[in-house]
């Protein structure tokens, strides 16, 4: 069953249950009210009848009856019977109507008033005391108007019930379709994603409701997938490129050597060169093997707990050896006491590349002016701020900085390939982190990185 039909039917089921309850309540309340109103009228008529009977000796009974029938409304099928009784001993002195149950008379003797409904007739009985003795007045009538009204009410309610069910069905169906349309859109969009268009992102990712979050989750997943994809392919590209250089050199040398017969010295120097290139090759292959061991294990990237402050100290040491004139200032003043708050789960070598790239950029683009790096944390994340006083990034180009090979217009004189920040961005995204760059041209740049700490992520 489609979700849409399911939602609609549940909706209809619930509302019809609710409506039925309400309508039944309305019907029965009206019915009780009509009946009690009719009993009241019956008892009033009974009182009048009793008075007419009692005062028969004092008044002209015919005139009284005339007035009663003409001016006081008679009820439909009204019938009055008067029985002489002895209230003390609770027995009738005349023959009682046997069609009414004994219990009815018993109640009249006990409480001086009783009500009864038999078939379509309503009965009220009243007990009167008079100087001529006690007697019971039993008045019966049918409530034709009341029945008519109740029938009408019942029919109206039934019709209203079916009409509202119809409307609820239509509305529920429309609403369910509308509510689920983003889902079908997401399904369509996700289905169109293939390995060759991994950079495609769902367009429904705005909004804070559940569907927006679902789309965001998909987008994040796609981010991570794309990054892993790119990393793998870049790795192969770079590796083969690096491997080819020494190989070409070796091939060139051997070709020269084999060209013609040469002196012993020439052979020696050529062999030395070949040895040099071969050892470079060996070094590279060893490095690659190591990288493969640490980074791309059989399962993929190695995820381990990393202390971010130690990682930064390591990076600083590396930069110190490559550019000794750097002025990186570490600010660990706000470091939390709790070790978990500064530890995150991730790949050490990848994070080293990411943060190292950003720090190197900060030094490079500020001409080795002061670069401030600050680490602190809140309950769920580690925050890293890198602030430099360099050339800055023009505001129109700020949105392009994560594109590979993009270089800002004011960075032409500074060497680089435009590969550092995109890589850093992807690595940080891969660790479910966030990176934000704020920049003012010729004033400086502020890079803010937020990474989830070990408390929030147990695994990547």
């Amino acid at each position: 069953m489609q979700l849409r039909t399911k939602i609609t039917s549940i909706f209809i089921g619930l509302t019809s249950l609710f409506l039925t309850g309400i309508f039944i309540l309305i019907y029965f309340v009206s019915k009780t009210y009509t009946e009690s109103e009719f009993y009241l009228r019956l008892s009033q008529r009974a009182t009048i009848a009793a008075q007419a009977y009692l005062e028969a000796d004092e008044l002209n009974i015919d005139i009284y009856d005339d007035i009663r029938i003409l001016h006081l409304m008679t009820l439909p099928n009204e019938k009055e019977v008067i029985y002489r009784v002895d209230a003390e001993r609770k027995v009738a002195l005349t023959q009682l109507d046997k069609s009414l149950p004994e219990r009815f008379y018993q109640i009249i003797f006990d409480t001086e008033y009783a009500e009864l409904k038999k078939d379509n007739y309503y009965y009220t009985g009243l007990l009167f005391h008079d100087k001529e003795g006690d007697f019971i007045v039993v008045l019966s009538a049918t409530d034709l108007y009341g029945f008519g009204k109740l029938d009408n009410l019942r029919n109206t309610l039934i019709v209203a019930f079916f009409i509202s069910i119809l409307f609820i069905f239509i509305l529920g169906r429309v609403y369910a379709t509308q509510a689920l349309s983003p889902i079908s859109k997401i399904i369509k969009e996700v289905n169109s994603i293939r390995a060759e268009n991994l950079s495609f992102r769902l367009g429904t990712a705005n909004g804070n409701d559940e569907l927006g979050q679902l789309a965001k989750t998909f987008n994040n997943m796609l981010d991570r997938l794309q990054i892993s994809f790119d990393l793998q392919s870049n790795f192969i590209n770079n590796a083969s490129h690096e491997l080819r250089n020494p190989l070409t050199a070796i091939l060139g040398r051997t070709e020269i050597a084999l060209n013609k017969v040469r002196s012993k010295e020439d052979y020696l120097s050529i062999l030395k060169n070949i040895e040099l290139e071969a050892s470079r090759l060996d070094f590279l292959v060893n490095g690659l093997l190591k990288l493969a061991k640490t980074d791309f294990d059989s399962k993929g990237i190695v995820i381990e707990p990393i202390r971010l402050d130690e990682l930064i100290l390591d990076i600083k040491k590396n930069i110190d050896t490559s550019t000794p004139e750097n002025e990186i200032e570490l600010d660990f003043e706000e470091l939390p006491a709790n070790e978990n708050a500064i530890t995150l789960m991730g790949s050490e070598s990848l994070l080293k590349v990411a943060i190292g790239n950003i720090l190197e950029n900060a030094c490079k683009f500020s001409d080795n002016k002061k670069v401030c790096i600050k680490v602190f944390s809140d309950t769920s994340s580690i925050l890293l701020t890198i602030k430099d006083e360099g050339v800055g990034i023009p505001e129109s180009e700020l949105k392009n900085i994560y594109e590979p090979f993009f270089r800002a217009s004011n960075a032409r004189g500074i060497e680089g390939f435009g590969f550092g920040l995109p890589l850093a961005y992807r690595i940080i995204k891969m660790h479910s982190g966030e990176i934000r760059v704020l920049s003012q041209i010729n004033k400086g740049t502020l890079v803010k990185i937020k990474l989830p700490n070990k408390n929030t992520t147990k695994s990547l």
Partner: protein, 160 residues
């Protein structure tokens, strides 16, 4: 020490302006004045019971406070203080008085017209700042955060 005027609409995104202020005035102690325009109520009773602090407090969410605290922690060495002020005037003269009172000479404002208030009582002071503050720096802040939905609007229910 410098007093920097920054317009705010009490969203976390608007706090980015503070970071731009820090970038623009490096190595200077900053006293940040967050400003929002406020139309004074028009009945005597409400003017009599008008309380600036109370109005500001009502607008500030817990997340906003948390984000503000984080920024202060992050830049403890340069941020001296962050205060909120309501500008209740209607014209530039009033605004110049306000500037004198708070000894403000610099301001950081968003380039695009992105300040939006949830309540109609508040108004954007950016154009006053642009006109009256000598050194008003425009920065390209993108308020990516969605405009807050009106709390009790039925439209949000049907707008799936």
């Amino acid at each position: 020490m410098r007093n920097i005027l920054i317009p705010t609409d009490f969203t976390i995104a608007s706090l980015q302006l503070i970071e731009y202020a820090l970038l623009n005035f490096p190595n200077t102690k900053l006293n940040i004045v967050l400003i929002a325009g406020f139309t004074l109520p028009d009945t005597r009773w409400t003017i009599f019971h008008f309380n600036e602090r109370e109005q500001i407090r009502k607008q500030i969410s817990e997340e906003f406070n948390e984000a503000k605290r984080l920024i202060v922690r992050e830049h403890k060495e340069v941020i001296e203080n962050i205060t909120f002020q309501l500008f209740t005037g209607v014209n530039s003269f009033a605004f110049q008085n306000f500037l004198q009172q708070h000894e403000v000479t610099d301001a950081v404002i968003p380039k695009s017209n992105s300040i939006q208030y949830p309540s109609r009582k508040f108004f954007d002071t950016t154009k006053f700042i642009k006109k009256n503050v000598k050194n008003a720096i425009e920065v390209p802040v993108e308020f990516t955060e969605e405009a807050p939905q009106k709390k009790y609007s039925l439209i949000s229910l049907f707008n799936l």
